[in-house]
């Protein structure tokens, strides 16, 4: 689903892709809230019984941005295809729990600030909305669905200098912009990409090398 404010923001991409699956618009970031999504793209696997069998992960459908992200699309796509065909595993409940990041009170407070900002914006109170978008970004600086996601609304180019400066500051703080799971990233830290067991905790904090 698209974390976009209106269908028109996402329309061109959806129509170009002409998907055969449902392609939805999540203007109020409902799914981001329920699933603790803090950036895009984020993917999850859900099995036929409705259970999460791969928690929040970063995966691209193609290598268009590989030169920027350092992330190859093949690892996840290969694992996905194997899982769908019944030829490969999903994660065990223990692995899922190990890799899940649960929301904190500050994360939820940031989401409330974002939501209030959205409401104020749609009711013509842009200056007030801005205050809450900024506050949300302060409370959850890792939540780029807020810090970057509000840029189009605020008339800021989400791919322009302000975003690049934000990303640079984030990197200088030693924080990865994307947090793929170890087997998707192909990180050698804590398990050499093994899917047989949980990766060591250190691997969750590893820089993806961007």
């Amino acid at each position: 689903m698209a974390l976009d404010g209106t269908p028109d923001d996402a329309r061109a991409w959806i129509e170009a892709a002409a998907p055969t699956h449902p392609s939805l618009i999540d203007a109020r970031h409902v799914v981001a809230d329920l699933y603790n999504v803090v950036n895009v793209p984020t993917i999850l696997w859900i099995d036929a019984r409705g259970r999460i069998v791969r928690p929040n992960d970063v995966a691209f459908g193609a290598d268009t941005f590989k030169h920027l992200t350092g992330l190859s699309s093949a690892r996840h796509l290969d694992a996905l295809r194997a899982w769908v065909r019944g030829e490969g595993p999903a994660m065990s409940p223990e692995e899922v729990r190990h890799h899940q990041r649960l929301p904190t009170a500050a994360d939820q407070q940031a989401r409330a600030e974002f939501a209030l900002g959205q409401w104020l914006w749609t009711h013509g109170r842009a200056a007030a909305a801005e205050r809450h978008f900024v506050r949300g970004g302060e409370l959850a600086p890792h939540d780029f669905t807020i810090r970057r996601g509000t840029m189009p609304l605020r008339g800021i180019d989400s791919m322009g200098p302000q975003f690049r400066a934000m990303r640079q500051a984030w990197a200088e703080a030693g924080q990865p912009y994307y947090r793929p799971l170890p087997d998707t990233a192909g990180s050698d830290v804590g398990g050499s990409g093994s899917r047989g067991g949980p990766a060591a905790p250190a691997s969750r904090e590893s820089d993806t090398g961007q």
Partner: protein, 136 residues
């Protein structure tokens, strides 16, 4: 008495309230009518549940029900804009975390480009790849 716009998920209600430097106090009758919550006998209740209050006197005074205290008792996030007389009641970190830790994917309903609603639960019985993306 002022009026506060309180947004609770998709519901937007106007409540009689007192807004001042100390925060927001809601008129109890207005809160009950709009959102179904009442405070009595040391409990905060709606139709579905009751939450025991450590200190009813802190939550409720002659001036009304403290909005921040109300949110805290329910463990819900709260964003307030006194100048704009608006507030948003968000999700509980504890509740969201418990759902995710159960590993049962939470259901949701969202529209497609044509405005037609789709729910995750409609697809039970199939393996699902959920992809969250954005034009930004």
């Amino acid at each position: 008495m002022d009026r506060l716009t309180l947004i609770d998920d998709e519901r937007v209600v106007q409540l009689a309230a007192r807004l001042d430097g100390d925060g927001v106090r809601l008129d109890p009758a207005a809160l009950e009518k709009a959102l179904g919550w009442t405070v009595h006998d040391g409990l905060l209740c709606n139709d579905a549940m009751c939450v025991p209050l450590a200190d009813e006197g802190t939550l409720v005074s002659e001036a009304g029900i403290d909005l921040a205290g109300f949110a805290r008792v329910l463990d819900r996030a709260l964003a307030v804009d006194l100048a704009e007389r608006a507030a948003f009641l968000g999700g509980s970190a504890r509740e969201r975390g418990q759902v995710l830790a159960s590993q049962q994917a939470p259901d949701f309903t969202l529209p497609d480009l044509d405005g037609r609603p789709h729910s995750l639960s409609e697809h039970r019985g199939k393996k699902i790849l959920l992809v969250v993306w954005a034009s930004w």
